[in-house]
């Protein structure tokens, strides 16, 4: 089966600019996650979708971050405006159902200057 696809692989922007990341999960996976991983730390969950509905977004900085999952398949994560502390790797993952192992993409490395 094809894995989780993410793009772009790298992105460099200046602070206060906006950026968007795209994720295509494994076909048939109902649950989709966006994690933020700062260098040297473990991934931190930003938002979790079940099909196209939001299950958990308690740690998403909603004043600047937004995410959507149209038609319960692909997802985009947007940051507007970006801050220096948003520099991190943004990982997308999917799973066939809650409580099952996650399959991760290779992430998008964001550098905010």
């Amino acid at each position: 089966e094809a894995g989780v696809a993410q793009s772009p692989r790298y992105k460099i922007i200046e602070k206060r600019q906006s950026v968007a990341f795209w994720c295509n999960p494994i076909s048939g996976h109902a649950t989709l996650y966006w994690y933020q991983q700062i260098l040297g730390q473990g991934p931190k969950l930003l938002i979790q979708f079940q099909n196209n509905g939001v299950v958990d977004d308690s740690q998403l900085p909603k004043d600047r971050f937004s995410a959507e999952r149209l038609k319960g398949v692909d997802s985009t994560l947007k940051i507007q405006p970006a801050k220096l502390e948003d520099s991190a790797v943004y990982l997308c993952a999917s799973s066939s159902y809650v409580n099952s192992p996650l399959h991760f993409g290779n992430g998008t490395r964001l550098t905010v200057t």
Binding site: Q41, P43, D56, V98, N99, P101, F104
Partner: protein
């Protein structure tokens, strides 16, 4: 907030030796999962152990779970240079209706050839 904390933060061993990593968590769990992350890549699921299980094996991996001590350990036997990676534990809490997966801060393993 992070649920699991791995110990040690970093581990350097010689090829052929065994590597043991520990994970402690704070609240009750539904299951505990271990993931590996190679540099610049996404996380890869290694093994899942349920709260009613005490030990699980997969190839050269052995995971134990002690719910009374709220801890788990990952043992990699006969390590290889290719095992060099960061290893993360992650937990799912039965008290969390979203069943989101919370990651620890990871152990960086270096296997010297």
């Amino acid at each position: 907030s992070q649920q699991g904390e791995e110990d040690p933060q970093a581990l350097s061993i010689q090829e052929g030796e065994n590597a043991t990593m520990n994970c402690s968590y704070k609240t009750s769990i539904n299951n505990l999962q271990w993931y590996r992350q190679n540099s610049g890549r996404g996380l890869v699921h290694l093994i899942l152990i349920r709260s009613n299980e005490r030990e699980k094996h997969s190839g050269r991996l052995r995971v134990t779970l002690d719910t009374s001590k709220k801890s788990s350990s990952l043992l990699i036997t006969a390590s290889r240079a290719a095992d060099t990676a960061s290893y993360f534990c992650a937990t799912v809490s039965p008290m969390d209706s979203s069943y989101k997966l919370i990651f620890g801060s990871g152990t960086r393993l270096l296997v010297r050839p």
